[in-house]
């Protein structure tokens, strides 16, 4: 048995001649809170839908809890919770009725969990779903997704449009779910502060191509910014593998670099700067440099143990 709850092998999707997902090899470790990142249109939702067998891949395959995504059995589907983008509910049912209705589809339904989440988001069970705010609707959808106690939870942009209080409740619920070490969450998000808080692994999809698949710690360790000071005008930026971004002022050159190595260090020193100082870089800036339009796009940050 492996310890990955989702694996994709060369998973590819074309819509017509447009490549939406380039051959994708991804592995989601059991027990992780896995942040799936990328700009709008990068292919995240399509990838998720292929994993769940809702969209047929053009090539390649995916397995979920060891089963091929194209032939997931109802028993297996019951072990996977999926919160689709947009939080759709039937407006004419009350919060309680939504639960009663959904519970019929599952052999395992924990009312304690359902009521707990409903309560955590401050919902009244008697309210009709159409009267709920966006954040409350997200809470209801989350309750419906969590009550069957899925082993694997897939949340497609769950925080979209939520206010800060509802977002915090969402993050708390995510941590609560993973109290059990065998529970895994894959979630997509644009909110890097949320990712920074709860994720331990991330994958970054950039215009259909996977650009990072590593622990959050590794990503933050490997995308670095350095400041080089010169007595006079700095030389042009050197050719460094993994150079993401550079800017120069009268006597300073600031470089953002992925995968710093002793080689990179040597090249920097060969420019004869007065000083080389590391500069702090937040996750958001690292991410933006990483996916910015300038700079090299061909490298990849793998997990630490894959790097020599």
């Amino acid at each position: 048995m492996n310890d990955f709850v989702i694996e994709t092998h060369g998973l590819t999707k074309y819509y017509g001649t447009r490549e939406v997902v380039s051959p994708l090899d991804l592995a989601v470790p059991r027990g992780s809170i896995f942040g799936f990142l990328g700009r709008n249109g990068a292919g995240k939702s399509t990838t998720i839908r292929m994993m769940l067998g809702l969209v047929e891949p053009t090539r390649g395959s995916a397995t979920v809890l060891g089963q091929d995504s194209r032939s997931l059995t109802p028993e297996l589907r019951a072990r996977v919770g999926y919160l689709a983008e947009g939080h759709h509910v039937y407006g004419w049912m009350t919060v309680k009725e939504c639960g009663e209705w959904q519970s019929r589809f599952y052999q395992n339904w924990n009312w304690g969990v359902y009521n707990g989440v409903v309560d955590h988001f401050g919902l009244n069970p008697k309210t009709k779903a159409k009267g709920l705010s966006r954040g409350e609707r997200a809470g209801l959808c989350l309750a419906l997704t969590l009550a069957p106690e899925p082993e694997l939870l897939i949340l497609d942009d769950p925080a979209l449009g939520l206010d800060p209080v509802a977002r915090r409740s969402l993050l708390q619920s995510m941590l609560y779910v993973t109290r059990r070490a065998d529970r895994t969450i894959l979630f997509s998000s644009h909110l890097l502060s949320d990712v920074e808080r709860v994720a331990d692994h991330i994958a970054i999809l950039d215009r259909s191509v996977l650009r990072a698949n590593c622990s959050l710690e590794t990503f933050q360790d490997r995308v670095r910014q350095v400041s080089l000071k010169f007595p006079g005008t700095p030389p042009p930026p050197p050719a460094i593998p993994g150079l993401l971004h550079s800017f120069r002022t009268e006597n300073e050159m600031v470089l953002t670099i992925a995968n710093m190595s002793p080689d990179t260090d040597r090249i920097l020193k060969s420019l004869n700067p007065k000083s080389i100082d590391p500069m702090p870089l937040g996750l958001e800036d690292a991410f933006i440099s990483y996916l910015g339009d300038r700079g090299e796009q061909s490298f990849f940050i793998p997990d630490a143990e894959d790097v020599a």
């Binding site: 809170i33 915090r168 993050l171 708390q172 941590l175 609560y176 993973t178 109290r179 890097l192 502060s193 949320d194 920074e196 808080r197 709860v198 994720a199 331990d200 959050l216 710690e217 933050q220 702090p280 870089l281 937040g282 996750l283 958001e284 800036d285």
Partner: protein, 137 residues
């Protein structure tokens, strides 16, 4: 022990380091005393709404540095103050702290004598008896 930890996201300081730093300061200031028990990794993670691995990493670093000690099956406690760094590491940390200090005071226009005076006063307040028995092989 009153442990107030504030997490700022979007900062250039990683969350684990914010935790390390604030626990370190609580121990430094006496807000957390030797023998005080810290919340479990899980409890602190849920209180701060951060990934438990992040808290675990912060605790590991603090245990490695001798600020905290882990007692099997009982939990994590504030350690008795003792020196755990090698001489080279102590020197490196002193240099680092000195760099920050110099960078900040250089522009303020005090004379060297004034700064030394100030430092001596603050040092005698902060550590009335400098540990002398600390030696390293």
């Amino acid at each position: 022990m009153s442990l107030e930890i504030q997490i700022a996201t979007g900062s250039s300081t990683p969350i684990y380091w914010q935790i390390v730093d604030q626990i370190g300061k609580a121990v430094e200031s006496g807000a957390a005393q030797p023998g005080d028990q810290l919340p479990s990794v899980r409890a602190l993670a849920e209180r701060l709404v951060v990934n438990p691995n992040t808290v675990a990493r912060a605790y590991n670093d603090l245990v490695r540095d001798g600020v905290l000690e882990s007692q099997r099956g009982k939990g994590v406690f504030v350690a008795e103050r003792r020196q755990v760094f090698s001489d080279a590491e102590r020197r490196r940390r002193l240099e680092q702290a000195g760099d920050v200090f110099l960078h900040d005071v250089r522009m303020l226009g005090f004379t060297t004598a004034e700064i030394i005076d100030y430092l001596e006063r603050r040092l005698s307040e902060a550590m009335p008896e400098t540990p002398r028995e600390v030696t390293h092989e």
